[in-house]
Symmetry: C2
Subunit: 163 residues, 2 copies
């Protein structure tokens, strides 16, 4: 873990050709017009998808340098060190980048075994019921028990889910 964070200018290289971006061995990430790129986070042991989120440049660099997952919180409009409130820190085992370098895959170990603010292990705790012929489309729970009580962990903090 580095105490002094380096600037994004030194960390990332410019995108100069498709071949360089797709087949090169230097990080040249492409952030969207909003300055963000999507991130998927999986549990390194179970392989389960835990959550999908976004990173800005600082969050990506902080994740690389500290080995703990940092995201950009759109609901709070701030850098988000995952687990800072709940204690459920995500320790990064591997950081993957995709072909055109505009998406990140984090493989993590989760302290406490849960990553979802609702209290479940994964944010993806429901599946579309198959065969999916009924309307409206029905969901079934894939996790039957919460790992923690969100009221106890987050108290009166605002719920990030928005209608």
């Amino acid at each position: 873990m580095s105490a002094v964070l380096m600037s994004t200018e030194t960390a990332f290289v410019a995108r100069q050709s498709i071949e360089q971006v797709e087949e090169g061995t230097l990080l040249a990430p492409k952030f969207g017009p909003d300055g963000l790129l999507p991130v998927v986070t999986t549990d390194v042991v179970s392989g389960e998808v835990l959550m999908m989120s976004v990173m800005n440049e600082t969050a990506l660099l902080r994740t690389i340098e500290t080995g703990e997952a940092h995201y950009w919180s759109r609901s709070r409009q701030t850098l988000w060190h995952k687990g800072a409130t709940s204690g459920l820190v995500q320790k990064v085992v591997e950081i993957r980048i995709d072909d055109d370098q505009d998406a990140v895959w984090l493989r993590v170990e989760v302290a406490g075994g849960a990553s979802c603010h609702v209290g479940y292990r994964s944010c993806f705790y429901r599946a579309v019921v198959t065969p999916p012929s009924s309307r409206p489309v029905a969901l079934a729970f894939t996790e039957t028990q919460k790992v923690f009580d969100p009221q106890r962990v987050y108290g009166d903090a605002p719920n990030p889910t928005q209608l």
Copy 2:
């Protein structure tokens, strides 16, 4: 597989409360201002993340109804039946939705064993080299061999990677 596709009005329910969205058993997806939601696709056998993409309402409904992955192609601005060109169709085994129903996780079987237009099994074929202290940040290949030759499969079709 249904020949007649149903409208999104009958398929999805309105979002009326946080409790309904987070703990309910009916699909009430939230598409962004651009009409899209992010999707992560994993290989049901290896658990590996194959790709990240987006869906609009039609792509989501088409995926549910046909059992084959459909996305929205931002580079081509069209509904994208994955594998229509390459033959590498993704057969959907499970469709998960996240807590606030604004992200989808597809667990799929891939015909031909590859999902990346560059020719690799996964789009995430490179990882950040650890410890990541050198600058610029270096990448290492996690796949050493392509599954197919993109030139042979796609010919002169435009490369979706954009600088």
